[in-house]
Assembly symmetry: C2
Homo-oligomer: 267 residues x 2
């Protein structure tokens, strides 16, 4: 999708807010080896409008990662009301994907580059026995976690740092600003909420992997700070599994979804 | 299972605490037309101990109903430690069923008749668009609910009454004591918690169906009280779907599961 095209010939750019259960997909973007969220969305758009378009996604989510507030943009010549996009796309989308809202966006709106803030949530379920109701929705850790130690380690990661140690292979600059890394305990789960304008590839899952090592007493919180300072690429240790990760929300200047309270984005 | 048999010839009675996702099952009890929780459990027991036994369940759950704390009992001649029953059965059970705990029970322990209190939870998700992550786990209601009105209607149902209006076809006595019927709102959901020593068939789903009618403004809270007083069998109106219902916990005198906090029974 090229920002300069939309609107030129009577087209519009529509922003979509998406929730999905990522269990059955190879990821958000097109994949050769299986179904993707993008593929399902573009197929639903074609069924609804007759147009074959590319949907641009704000965040690339891996196979098995979920979203409560993924954002996509598409260009269309359809004159359909945005509310009809919501109803129509949900009619054609499978049960594990839904459009929560659709709004008109500026012709140059780029969901990836324009994101002002991204929020991810990681859910770990710490208990002796695996949970049937949370399978594929949380990481099962069969021992107790020291949440206070995890919280101390998480606090040391907040701020602007070179996060190379917490990224998978990446060619670009690795300095990021982690605005928030909160560790909370609720309903038998340890939940980590992370907020930044942008994250490095696998940064949230690598951070959670490192925090779990601290929670399990295998590494102390100070060692995590040392790994951060050393900034040796991909040196943070184990990566937490995809199933516990949720893309919760993405914020943009001047873009409001107009959702009633309780509609969408509840983790 | 006959209570008089256990212990007579070196056998023991074991009580099991079960969590399951009921989506893929025809119900807790044996069914001719598809898989059941009981069938899966008995199959896992046979694989573990070599014994073909009947498992007795505390509560009969319908197709699609979930459990966070179902209780079953089985007789065995195995000398295996109860902790080995937990690990061993979980090894053989499918991912959507788990044994959370196993304890020795008295030879006459009857999980259905000995229950002192049962807790059910009903989850309704009230928002415009269906939720992919809560599909099959909550009832999607696409309009706002008046929670205050639902709460007033629920309060009027508490206490000892003839609940015939809120039961499916039933031959026995229909007087029950509803100890608690709480309506709360959390994370975009309306959650109804009900507690009683025993419930009539479909009582929780029928009660939720009636409360939803109140929440949607189709019926007022006073009309629900009138339906209760009239006690005309199965007259309460629509029955809420199975997918929102969770058997949360069953209490017994003198039976403790010994679970660490956060292990099991978190809805």
């Amino acid at each position: 999708m090229d920002g300069a095209d939309a609107g030129r010939d009577g087209g519009r750019r529509i922003a979509l807010l998406l929730e999905y259960d990522g269990t059955g997909y190879r990821g958000s973007q097109y994949q050769d080896n299986g179904p993707s969220i993008q593929g399902e969305l573009e197929s639903a758009i074609e069924k609804l409008t007759g147009e074959r378009v590319r949907a641009a996604f704000a965040g690339r989510t891996d196979a098995g990662v979920h979203a409560l507030g993924q954002v996509a943009a598409l260009d269309t010549r359809s004159g359909m009301a945005t509310s009809a996009f919501v109803g129509g796309l949900n009619h054609f989308l499978p049960a594990d994907i839904a459009v929560l809202a659709a709004v008109e966006a500026a012709p140059a709106f780029d969901p990836r580059r324009d994101a002002r803030m991204r929020t991810y949530r990681y859910r770990a379920q710490s208990r002796a026995v695996r949970s049937p109701l949370w399978r594929e929705r949380a990481w099962h850790i069969d021992r107790p976690l020291d949440v206070a130690a995890m919280r101390a380690a998480a606090a040391a990661l907040e701020g602007t740092h070179d996060f190379a140690a917490f990224a998978g292979p990446y060619d670009g600059a690795t300095v990021r600003t982690l605005r928030r890394c909160d560790v909370t305990q609720a309903c038998g789960q340890v939940v980590v909420d992370m907020e930044a304008q942008s994250f490095l590839p696998h940064q949230v899952r690598r951070t959670m992997g490192a925090l779990a090592e601290v929670g399990l007493g295998r590494v102390d919180a100070g060692a995590i700070s040392a790994v951060l300072r050393e900034a040796k690429p991909a040196s943070s240790g184990p990566t937490a599994p995809a199933c516990g990760l949720y893309l919760v929300a993405i914020e943009y200047d001047g873009l409001e979804w107009g959702l009633a309270e309780g509609n969408g984005r509840d983790a």
